[in-house]
């Protein structure tokens, strides 16, 4: 496709040109750093808006404590309602009108897709996105965009590997959300199963976010005789699926995607008894899990929450997500000598073994100019009725 070649060539030229020109200090003065963000504060994806609120509270705290490298953080978080055209508008506002130094943790796959080319053409760092699609780690084509969390397809592969190694004669049912998130997970999983995928998967059903329930899908999956269930759903539907399969007495090996692994937001509403035996891959410490309650990282997060967001529902894992990513951004800015756009991008692409307070032990942030996937490890865990019990090694997987 000609367009794609042009794009790659353009990106290469952009990099060369970048080094030749004077450093781009847009958005950064001796006293301030201006950071842009979009979040769904309205509309169907509003459940994630707490991430934007957490980051806002975090930078307010940082400012009270004197800022970063003597600079106050001006964090501008705008509502895009999870609508791609609105994201384009808001990001152009941030870049062209507000003149932010960079974009940080913009949320959502379709929304970030819409601005992917624009920010790279404008050479604006587009850092630590709140989405697990695999396309955010292509430094050769998109040198200004970098993801954050483990990608969905890699996680799908981890489950596939688990199934192949541990389950005799697996017959697999897959329930997935009919969008880019669901299909990324599904494709990674099928890829992990390899040639045998066609034979092993006996039922594969989508659902729409507008569907009231996934009950009928669960019935059909039970009917298919599957003994493994890969559940690629957001918390609301995950909870429905867990409860429904429990009600009808279907007891497959139930693999639950990380997106819905929160004990407080998914498993408690679904019923802890029904959730017993679920398997997931984790990278964030679940706030509800008592095993972390003496952990220094957990205590740091709780301290932050109690002081800065006292009304928050602390069982919601999204607050921990927001805190982690804020801490990472803080670290990058704090240790970066060159605070130009190029400099910040360079610093973000040279992180070695960074530990974050609410990330599981043994999982660290690593990036390089060739590796734009900050977190690539996850740990399998099984739910014992009260908390996630980890088992096996931390699994490090390279993204495809």
């Amino acid at each position: 496709m000609r367009i794609k070649n042009l794009l790659a060539a353009g990106a290469a030229i952009a990099l060369l040109a970048g080094t030749a020109q004077a450093a781009d200090m847009t958005g950064i003065t001796d006293t301030t750093i201006k950071i842009g963000n979009t979040n769904p504060y309205s509309g169907p994806a509003s459940v994630y808006s707490v991430i934007g609120k957490t980051i806002t509270a975090y930078f307010e705290m940082v400012n009270e404590m004197g800022g970063i490298q003597g600079r106050q953080i001006d964090f501008i978080s705008l509502d895009d309602g999870y609508s791609p055209p609105r994201t384009v508008e808001q990001v152009r506002k941030l870049v062209e009108q507000e003149q932010v130094a960079f974009l940080f943790n913009t949320l959502g796959t379709p929304t970030n897709s819409a601005i992917h080319r624009y920010v790279n053409a404008k050479k604006v760092p587009h850092l630590f996105l709140a989405t697990g699609a695999s396309k955010w780690g292509q430094p050769d084509k998109y040198p200004w965009t970098m993801g954050f969390q483990p990608t969905y397809d890699v996680e799908g592969e981890i489950y596939a590997k688990y199934v192949l190694e541990n389950i005799e004669d697996p017959k697999i049912a897959i329930l997935f959300q009919n969008d880019d998130y669901g299909k990324d997970y599904r494709d990674g999983f099928l890829h992990g199963l390899g040639d045998k995928a066609d034979e092993l998967v006996v039922s594969m059903l989508p659902y729409e976010v507008t569907d009231p329930t996934v009950d009928s899908q669960i019935l059909k999956m039970q009917e298919s005789g599957a003994n493994v269930f890969f559940n690629i759903t957001i918390p609301k539907f995950a909870a429905q699926a867990i409860r429904k399969s429990c009600e009808i007495g279907w007891k497959p090996v139930h693999l639950l995607n990380n997106v819905s692994s929160s004990v407080g937001a998914t498993l408690t509403p679904a019923g802890l008894e029904c959730s017993t035996g679920l398997i997931t891959a984790l990278y964030i410490k679940d706030p509800v899990d008592p095993q972390w309650h003496d952990d220094p990282g957990y205590k740091e997060w709780v301290g932050f929450m109690e002081k800065n967001m006292p009304d928050a529902d602390m069982t919601d894992v999204n607050y921990a997500f927001g805190y982690n990513v804020s801490r990472l951004m803080h670290h990058v800015l704090d240790t970066c000598e060159d605070l130009s756009r190029e400099g910040i991008m360079g610093c973000a692409a040279n992180l070695k073994d960074i530990e974050l307070p609410m990330i599981m032990p043994g999982i660290t942030v690593n990036t390089s100019p060739e590796d734009f996937y900050p977190i690539q490890s996850e740990q399998l865990a099984r739910f014992d009725g009260e908390r996630w019990v980890t088992f096996g090694e931390v699994i490090h997987a390279g993204s495809r």
Partner: protein
């Protein structure tokens, strides 16, 4: 007020002033603001389609997001897979949307009022699902959508945003003029007769079925062109952008601008682009006010209270009052 205005010298003068202002606007504001106005005008074109259908022909639709998507995807597919010239995709988008609209208008003939609204609504709800459907993925890009580049500036010295602004302005003015001609023609009077009294219209020998389906087609065509323009503006299409919220937004824009009007669509478009931003600014400035969506809702209700016939309806009424005022009482 239910008829389009006659041509008067005052009207021509007002149009000239408006055009002059619109022509200079991109040089007075930033590229970003030009982009926002371009978005507003693209919405305006879509609203024009809705006004022709609902305001002048009396057929309801809460499904125009579907026609918007048809136009947008037609343009995007031609640009992405066939590397067409941007502007060459506009007539094709128009034709495809017309065809889809006309076909949709056939079963719609049997439905009235709320039932028609439901049928169009069903169409709007089904659209994202169809765009995501695996069998079409090769063409539509599936859930990932398609990237298309912005058109190059037509004239040297203009930025891409300014150039696109002028193109959109030209398309909008042309389509408004065409709508005006249509509504002043014999056909236009027939359309309005059907709206006001379908039975009487039929008795007078008007082929109501043909008029209604054709109007549906024309309305879809306008909205499809708007969809294509919106692709140039945002440089990206994805199924989730054409959901039911878009359909509701188009309806809101139409009513706010004045559904029985042509110029009202400009205000409707501006409302759709700028009000959410305004609501957000309020919500961000004062920490204890409700979230932006709630403020948007409050504004919506207030607008309906205070300008029940839409912005253009209010302008027309003010103008009529001015003309009717007792002689000598003016300055």
């Amino acid at each position: 007020m239910d008829r389009p205005n006659p041509v008067t010298p005052q009207l021509l003068a007002a149009v000239a002033v408006a055009l002059l202002f619109a022509g200079f606007l991109p040089h007075l504001v930033s590229d970003f603001t030009s982009f926002q106005f371009t978005q507003a005008m693209a919405y305006g074109v879509a609203l024009l389609g809705l006004n022709i259908l609902t305001g002048y022909n009396g057929q309801f639709s809460i499904g125009h997001s579907a026609f918007y998507a048809v136009g947008a995807y037609t343009a995007a597919i031609l640009l992405y897979h066939f590397e067409w010239n941007h502007y060459a995709t506009l007539p094709v988008a128009a034709l495809v949307a017309f065809a889809v609209g006309f076909l949709f208008g056939l079963p719609a003939l049997r439905l009235e009022g709320l039932y028609l609204a439901l049928a169009t609504f069903a169409f709007a709800v089904a659209t994202p699902q169809l765009l995501k459907f695996d069998a079409f993925e090769h063409w539509t890009g599936g859930v990932q959508g398609l990237f298309v580049p912005k058109p190059e500036p037509l004239i040297e010295g203009l930025s891409a945003d300014q150039s696109l602004y002028y193109v959109t302005l030209a398309v909008m003015v042309l389509l408004m003029a065409l709508a005006w001609c249509l509504l002043h023609s014999r056909s236009g009077r027939a359309m309005m007769a059907i709206r006001d009294n379908p039975i009487a219209a039929r008795t007078m020998g008007i082929n109501t079925a043909l008029y209604k389906t054709t109007t549906f087609g024309i309305s879809a065509m306008y909205t499809g062109i708007a969809g294509a323009l919106s692709v140039f503006v945002t440089e990206f299409v994805a199924p989730d952008a054409f959901n039911f919220f878009l359909a509701v937004n188009l309806l809101i824009g139409s009513v706010v601008g004045g559904i029985v009007s042509i110029p009202g669509v400009i205000f409707g478009g501006l409302f759709l682009v700028f009000l959410p931003n305004f609501a957000q600014d309020i919500s961000r400035t004062y920490p204890f006010v409700p979230p932006p969506w709630a403020i948007f809702g409050i504004f919506l209700i207030l607008v309906i209270y205070f300008v029940p016939f839409g912005v253009w309806g209010a302008v027309e009424r003010a103008f009529a009052w001015w003309k009717r005022r007792p002689a000598g009482s003016g300055r």
